[in-house]
């Protein structure tokens, strides 16, 4: 299968400190790929550099085009989209305007196309429609995450980068988010998913990478990796260890 995204020898540094070392990673067209790893491994750094928010070294191919050095707006125009860890919403604009701006790069498609997509987002997240005219900064944590995802959907991405989309959400909303991820996959969107919740991520993903202190230390089909002893111990730890709790 052809690749939606291909990185080779991809390095990112903050000043002199390198946070990602010569990573090579591939997202096949239409696939969900997950990157798991402990805090500070460099997952957020990786996604930021793919979007062009951070300067990087190495090869970055997206949909067959070399995009090293391209500005973020060009990557967005070509169909990349990131739901960032910190959400980066427009706090002093209304929920409605945040969604509208999510479709900024599609502004020439006309108001009708955007309105239809807006209706779809509202259908998925009725909470957002109730609060359409409320300022984004006054939303609850969970509502903010819905808005961040809704804003990304308005961009109609072909490659969606998700940085911990379910962090701190109630189980029902998490299920809704994984529904959306499955739906998007069915419409052919490729995804790169970073999750604390490794179990959920490995369930939904086709392929997985394990990132530790800036290095990719393990990779393989998600189902295989979910059975790897090192992954079980470190990332799926708690529940597999649970039966033995109190034994020693």
């Amino acid at each position: 299968m052809s690749a939606a995204l291909e990185l080779e020898g991809f390095s990112v540094a903050y000043g002199k400190v390198e946070a990602l070392h010569h990573a090579s990673l591939r997202v096949a067209e239409g696939a969900i790929v997950t990157v798991i790893g402990p805090n500070g491994a460099g997952k957020t750094t990786l996604l930021g550099a793919i979007m062009g928010l951070l300067p990087s070294k190495g090869r970055l191919h997206y949909a067959g085009a070399a995009l090293e050095g391209a500005p973020t707006e060009e990557r967005v125009a070509r169909g990349m989209c990131l739901v960032p860890e910190r959400r980066e919403l427009f706090a002093e604009l209304s929920v409605h305007d945040n969604l509208l701006l999510g479709g900024f790069h599609r502004r020439r498609e006309g108001a009708r196309a955007l309105a239809a997509d807006m209706a779809q987002v509202y259908a998925r997240f009725p909470k957002l429609e109730e609060r359409a005219s409320q300022l984004a900064g006054t939303l609850s944590g969970g509502e903010r995450q819905m808005l961040a995802l809704g804003r990304a959907l308005m961009a109609k991405p072909r490659l969606l980068l998700l940085d911990e989309p379910s962090l701190g959400l109630a189980p029902r909303i998490v299920r809704e988010i994984y529904h959306i991820i499955a739906d998007l996959k069915r419409t052919g969107v490729s995804m790169l998913l970073v999750e604390q919740n490794a179990r959920a991520a490995l369930q939904v993903a086709d392929y997985a990478y394990v990132l530790e202190v800036g290095d990719i230390v393990l990779q393989g089909p998600a189902a295989e990796l979910a059975g790897h002893p090192r992954v079980i111990e470190t990332y799926l730890g708690l529940s597999s260890a649970a039966p033995r709790a109190g034994a020693s």
Binding site: L53, V76, P84, R86, F90, L100
Partner: protein, 348 residues
């Protein structure tokens, strides 16, 4: 002081205050979007006012040379960048935008000036000369520093200010100029005699303020500007080109500066460096509004106009001292309040 004088001073204050309000809005807009404290705003007032007076006298304004020089500098920077990344496709657009367009405007003005066109044509020519200077100044001086700190950007502003004032002296000389009013009439409203020019100023300011409001509330580009001001990373992530929003905010600021210059040209005699003081009063207005709120900035600027007008009656020697002295208590209050905000953030 009797009622006549009071009303006359109030009229004077409101007229000037309306212009300061426009300038305050422009300063706030530029600061919010680019974090630049736009000291050279005053030079756009000077350029517009002096150009108008010179066109009226049938002379070719020196603004066309400033425009040509600026355009060539921007073209050189863009061209060098394009050549370095071998993006030859960008060259025709760069040439059209920064070389052909400024030169075309310059030639048009040079041709039209001796023919003494109608006043409204003069106004259009002035706008065509001054407004493109906004994006050009941004491209040359600020865009390369886009991620620098507010202080570095401020120092760049001071440098741009001195360069532009220098060019202003070279191309306009030291003489003071005043243009003739658009509409030379006076009306009696009860005891108050209102000049038609101050009505012009008020009407134009109101129209501009409403237009700005419509832009920011009801167009995607206006919202994109606000979004950039609120969250730069978020703006980049939805595909808003932040270099373009920077240029757009400077375009609006140059437009507002030029309109202010055109409005003020028949009221005040302007010299090559007068715009700076006028711009500074708009800045005081913006500071009174806490550098954050558009309505407060407009109100603050109106207050500056009134204060200036009344203090010129009671203590004319101290007029400027009183107006600029107003900044001190406001800054003290703002810095006390901002320390408070930081503490709150740390506690989170």
């Amino acid at each position: 002081m009797n009622a006549d004088i009071f009303l006359w001073l109030a009229q004077d204050g409101v007229t000037n205050g309306a212009i300061y309000a426009l300038l305050a809005l422009a300063l706030l807009l530029v600061f919010a979007v680019t974090r630049v404290i736009f000291v050279p705003q005053g030079e756009f007032i000077t350029f517009a006012a002096l150009s108008l007076s010179m066109l009226e006298a049938g002379r070719v304004p020196g603004t066309i040379y400033i425009l040509a020089i600026g355009g060539l500098a921007a073209a050189a920077i863009e061209g060098f960048g394009a050549a370095r990344s071998r993006a030859w496709r960008r060259l025709p657009r760069i040439a059209a935008l920064y070389v052909v367009l400024p030169l075309a405007v310059a030639l048009l003005v040079a041709w039209a000036a001796p023919r003494k066109p109608d006043q409204w044509l003069q106004v259009l020519l002035v706008l065509a000369m001054v407004v493109p200077l906004g994006p050009i100044v941004y491209r040359v001086a600020y865009q390369p520093l886009a991620s620098a700190s507010v202080l570095v950007l401020f120092i760049a502003s001071m440098a741009v200010h001195y360069v532009l004032v220098g060019l202003s002296l070279v191309f306009f000389g030291g003489e003071g100029l005043r243009s003739s009013p658009f509409w030379d009439a006076r009306f009696k409203l009860g005891v108050l005699e209102v000049s038609a020019q101050s009505l012009w100023v008020l009407a134009a300011s109101l129209v501009l303020i409403v237009a700005l409001w419509l832009l920011f509330e009801h167009t995607i580009y206006g919202k994109a500007l606000r979004a950039t001001a609120i969250n730069r990373v978020g703006a980049r992530l939805v595909g808003i080109p932040t270099a373009l929003t920077g240029q757009l905010s400077f375009l609006l600021a140059a437009f507002i500066g030029a309109v202010s210059g055109i409005l003020i040209a028949p009221i005040t005699t302007l010299y090559y460096d007068t715009g700076f003081i006028i711009g500074l009063k708009g800045f005081v207005g913006a500071i009174l509004g806490g550098m954050a709120s558009y309505p407060l900035a407009a109100l603050g600027a109106l207050g500056v106009g009134l204060l200036e007008s009344f203090s010129s009656f009671w203590a004319s020697a101290y007029k400027e001292t009183i107006v600029f002295g107003l900044i001190v208590p406001v800054l003290v209050w703002l810095s006390l309040r901002s320390r408070h905000v930081e503490e709150e953030e740390e506690r989170e």
